[in-house]
């Protein structure tokens, strides 16, 4: 499989002394499911946002699909962003609009200024939106206002909005941090399914180590802005968890032994 994303020496600091990322290097192959784990404030969100330049890195190369994202101008950056879907912890939907309208927002990056401003979507785009909503089990909710949905349903709308971009990669920033275990499982299963059946690369920030162990092809451990671990889930040991989270693995609320159960 070819390499889709490659980060070389990426660093980011806020102000003068708050280092968010220091010299991060890793690569992701096409179709891979990669989880990024680490304590709060470790720089997981910043790392994810540097990839689509929602946050600008201070130095380093971010090569996605053979293009250095870090060096792109405004117009090319927008074009690159259409190939990267993003999913947020708080779903970031327009609450007063219907589900279908929110999904179609994923097509705005492909539109001219006028068509985008007026929200003119083609028949084909609408059909694709309905199809994606069907796959995600939201066919009953199509015309509902987004604020009438449950958290899990909102997140599925978020996924649909990302999928309609026909992206090569999905960036998911804590997609299940605000969801109950049931909804979390549904969301993670959908993400895994997307990666497996559509061949879309998925990069997920996670708080839950056991979820990362269960779903990922590869895990990246981050602490204080540096990469601590990069490898498959079965290489994770108690010592590595301790290095990532800075505490005894025994004190954490999960069971390493169960990692192959799912």
């Amino acid at each position: 499989m070819t390499t889709l994303l490659q980060l070389n020496h990426v660093s980011k600091h806020y102000g003068n002394d708050t280092k968010a990322l220091s010299d991060v290097n890793f690569s992701v192959k096409e179709g891979e499911f990669v989880s990024i784990i680490g304590p709060s404030g470790a720089g997981k969100s910043t790392l994810l946002r540097c990839i689509n330049r929602m946050v600008d890195a201070n130095s380093g190369e971010i090569i996605f699909d053979n293009v250095d994202i870090a060096g792109l101008g405004k117009k090319d950056l927008k074009k690159a962003r259409t190939k990267i879907g993003m999913i947020f912890q708080h779903y970031n939907l327009v609450n007063r609009l219907s589900v279908i309208e929110n999904v179609l927002h994923g097509r705005l990056g492909f539109k001219s200024t006028l068509a985008g401003a007026l929200g003119l979507y083609t028949e084909e785009e609408k059909r694709q939106a309905l199809q994606i909503l069907g796959v995600l089990g939201l066919q009953e909710q199509i015309y509902k206002r987004s604020d009438q949905l449950s958290g899990g349903q909102k997140q599925r709308v978020g996924i649909a909005r990302a999928l309609i971009q026909n992206p090569k990669m999905l960036l998911c920033d804590e997609p299940i941090a605000s969801l109950d275990p049931n909804a979390s499982k549904i969301i993670m299963d959908h993400l895994k399914n997307i990666s497996a059946s559509m061949g879309i690369t998925v990069l997920v920030n996670l708080h839950q180590v056991e979820v990362a162990l269960k779903y990922s092809d590869r895990i990246i451990g981050v602490n204080k802005g540096s990469l601590i671990f990069d490898g498959p889930p079965n290489e994770i040991t108690a010592e590595i968890i301790e290095a990532i989270y800075g505490s005894e693995a025994g004190d954490l609320m999960f069971d390493l032994g169960g990692q192959y159960a799912g």
């Binding site: 689509n52 929602m54 950056l77 927008k78 074009k79 690159a80 962003r81 259409t82 990267i84 879907g85 993003m86 947020f88 708080h90 970031n92 939907l93 327009v94 609450n95 007063r96 609009l97 927002h105 994923g106 705005l108 990056g109 492909f110 539109k111 200024t113 985008g116 401003a117 007026l118 929200g119 978020g158 909005r161 990302a162 971009q165 960036l171």
Partner: protein, 261 residues
């Protein structure tokens, strides 16, 4: 330890009250305000109000004239607010953290709005009196400037509060600036913005009375005229008409707000 926190809190409230009392007392001394005399004159004022300040038959014959002036005032207030809102929306887009084009433009537009907001409407009407003279235009512009400044501020907060998350999502999809404004900022912010506009119309009708006194137009001028010609009965009718209008507008805008939010 815990008890100390509560003792400290009580001390803080006590000191705050003490400062308040001292400030009040010092102000009374400086302005030579006589509390007893002030209170004693209250019944007399009330008595005067009841004997002179009510509409009589003569006053009612002036009603068509008053309503005509009232219509002028209401229309000017609405026009000033709505036009002000359009400008305010543009400036708010530039000024907001979420939708700003660049930092300099954001500071400039916030700065302009602050200047317009912090000059009071009555001050605006005095300033504009020199340029436009005693005409409806003076009142219109005074209200327009005041509404523009205030609404810009209110819209900036609205945009930052309700649409920053969905704006982030649309930026991540690669959507252009205008797509983001029309598909995310306007749909999510419109109820609050309309609510602010309704509030501003209410406020402006209230201010229009004062502006009218200063600029010689509208309902404020009618009041001023009758009052100064010692026609207290008609002046009181003007006040009653204003109060009824404001209550009606408030009722309507509350209703609209309930429906859209």
């Amino acid at each position: 330890m815990q008890a100390d926190v509560f003792v400290k809190k009580r001390w803080n409230s006590f000191i705050f009250l003490l400062i308040l009392l001292v400030v009040t007392f010092v102000s009374i001394v400086i302005t030579e305000f006589n509390m007893a005399k002030g209170l004693a004159s209250l019944p007399k004022a009330l008595q005067w109000g009841f004997t002179n300040f009510y509409p009589d038959e003569m006053a009612l014959t002036k009603l068509p004239d008053i309503l005509n002036k009232l219509r002028e005032t209401v229309l000017i207030s609405v026009a000033a607010t709505t036009v002000g809102a359009i400008f305010a929306f543009l400036f708010a887009l530039f000024g907001s953290r979420t939708t700003k084009v660049n930092g300099v433009l954001s500071k400039v537009s916030r700065g302009i709005a602050t200047i317009f907001r912090n000059i009071d409407i009555s001050a605006w009407s005095m300033i504009l009196l020199f340029s436009f003279g005693q005409s409806a235009l003076t009142g219109y512009f005074a209200l327009f400037f005041g509404s523009f400044g205030f609404l810009t501020r209110a819209f900036i907060e609205t945009i930052d509060e309700v649409s920053s998350s969905s704006v982030e999502a649309l930026q991540a999809t690669g959507a252009g600036y205008f797509s983001i404004i029309f598909q995310s900022v306007i749909p999510s912010g419109i109820p609050q913005m309309i609510s602010w506009i309704l509030f501003m119309i209410e406020t402006n009708i209230r201010s229009a009375t004062l502006v009218g006194i200063l600029t010689g137009t509208g309902i404020g001028f009618a009041f001023d005229l009758y009052y100064k010609s010692l026609n207290y009965h008609t002046a009181s009718l003007v006040v009653i008409v204003i109060v009824i209008t404001i209550l009606t507008i408030e009722y309507i805008s509350n209703y609209v707000r309930r429906v859209i939010l």
